[in-house]
């Protein structure tokens, strides 16, 4: 009996050791993140103002703002979303519901998983050759958006597939047993039930894309622009235009990098302030993803 008691004490001790180790590891991660964010806030919060958000960059740090940068980021995200979402979701649905499970499908799956790990600069090079030179889209928002769309495409596809896989087969059988075709089942059941997971995947993909700088630099985003892309809505005919797609642009990460590279300390404050704005944009997107996932999970209980 004494042996058993000793053995139990021994096991419990190591259990406790691991508990403490795990807790400390988590705390270290959180502490670092917290320190980083506090540092950023302390440095940059003084520059945050309406003026900062609505001014163009300038030689004078107090005048310099992020208007062109965040408009560029915003428009870029729109193009990325419009390109990546339909392609990614459709591909995910095809791979899960339509494709026969043979060696060809396996190869496709492996390749998509690999693509998720390709360095982003490679996507930049691809976009440069394909979109800038071959399709002649130029160094524009369209090119940047498509480059980022390719970057996050594997993520959207995988998130879609995971969401679809979570749907129990009994639901599919119930649908087919009532005489539905595959498309009817996908339209009425598969897509609605996997929406939560798909949207979460999309938002996570976009919040990754928002911070990707390498491909954007490669396709030629400018660093200092004091103008906005053409407005989509104008007061003359035609009232709606797509010209902004082909305009030059800049994005938040590039602006931040540009300011931090300058010797003047004041510009570093600007960089910190822009960093805060970018962080807030990312956190808001993540919060939206969590909220959407929560809402969908409530509605659908397997």
């Amino acid at each position: 009996m004494k042996d058993i008691k000793r053995r139990i004490k021994f096991n419990k001790f190591w259990n406790y050791v691991f508990l403490i180790t795990g807790l400390l590891s988590t705390l270290v991660g959180l502490a670092l993140l917290f320190t980083l964010m506090t540092d950023l806030f302390l440095d940059g919060s003084q520059r945050l103002s309406y003026k900062f958000l609505t001014s163009f960059p300038s030689r004078f740090p107090e005048e310099a703002g992020i208007l062109s940068a965040w408009v560029g980021t915003f428009l870029l995200m729109i193009v990325t979303a419009f390109a990546a979402i339909p392609l990614g979701v459709a591909a995910g649905i095809y791979l899960e519901e339509y494709a026969k499970k043979n060696w060809l499908t396996d190869i496709i799956e492996i390749n998509i998983a690999n693509l998720a790990g390709v360095p982003s600069i490679i996507y930049g090079l691809l976009a440069l050759g394909l979109f800038v030179y071959f399709f002649k889209f130029g160094e524009s928002i369209l090119t940047g958006g498509l480059a980022l769309a390719l970057l996050i495409l594997p993520m959207v596809i995988m998130a879609t597939r995971e969401a679809i896989r979570a749907i129990p087969n009994s639901i599919r059988e119930a649908s087919y047993a009532l005489g539905a075709t595959k498309w009817q089942t996908v339209q009425w059941h598969i897509i609605p039930y996997s929406m939560g997971g798909i949207l979460t995947g999309i938002i996570i993909g976009l919040s990754r894309a928002i911070g990707e700088t390498a491909p954007i630099i490669t396709v030629g985003a400018l660093t200092f622009i004091a103008f906005l892309p053409s407005p989509p809505i104008s007061s003359e005919f035609p009232f709606f235009s797509f010209k902004w797609l082909l305009d030059p642009f800049t994005v938040m990460p590039i602006q931040i990098f540009n300011w931090i590279s300058r010797p003047q300390q004041e510009f570093h404050i600007n960089a910190a302030a822009a960093g805060i704005v970018l962080l807030i944009m990312t956190l808001m997107m993540n919060a939206a993803a969590i909220y959407i996932r929560y809402r969908f999970r409530k509605r659908i209980k397997w």
């Binding site: 026969k100 639901i171 087919y176 047993a177 209980k301």
Partner: protein
Amino acid sequence: MPKENTISERLKAEVKNLNFYYGDAHSLKNINLPVARREVTALIGPSGCGKTTFLRCFNRMHDLYPHNRYEGEIIIYPEKLNIISPSVDPIEIRMQISMVFQKPNPFPKSIYENVAYGLRVRGVNKKSMLDDIVEKSLRGSALWDEVKDRLNTSAFDLSGGQQQRLCIARALATDPRILLFDEPTSALDPTATSKIEELIIELKNEVTIIIVTHNMQQAARVSDFTAFMYLGEIIEFDKTYKIFTAPSNKLTDEYITGRFG
């Protein structure tokens, strides 16, 4: 096999020399079975005897998965159509033969939408028509009074027994010619079970029913004809009272009396 005049001359379906293969495995061997019109035919037998496999041939569920192969015929009357012929569209068959599954599987939608789905698939979208058929089906599965005030609430809020009755309503909404039950009460408590058994006895006045059941007493309670299956073959088929009181085959007798199973 009994002679022709012991079964109603009016058959809904007839299975002739059905063989079924899961890949290389020969799951169903030379099945021959008459299915009487507007009667309940039960399939009983120990686990793995092939009764569910056999049931799922009737609505071509095996077509959904690869490496499955049918041989032989299942003839539907009065058209004399072989429903497992490769030239027949499985979707056409599933539109006329409905199934209720072992574990209740309502859609994560409202009660109304669950029952209406089969109709929407057929292009029926007019609200008045849907309302009528939804009510009729829910009455037909003895669920209407319990849910009529909450048709737009989630089907998942119902109890297990209610969910299964909802699945029955969903299967009835499309006015099927044959209704297939795959162990419909094995996941339910005794009260829900007896409600569903009562339902089945009532439903047979409208529709032909084939039921797979693990529970011999249930087969004895609800069915008119019973087929005993073992290792992919039909060992004996006869009127229910005869199978359970005086079976002709020794194996049937041993199963009935619980010597194996």
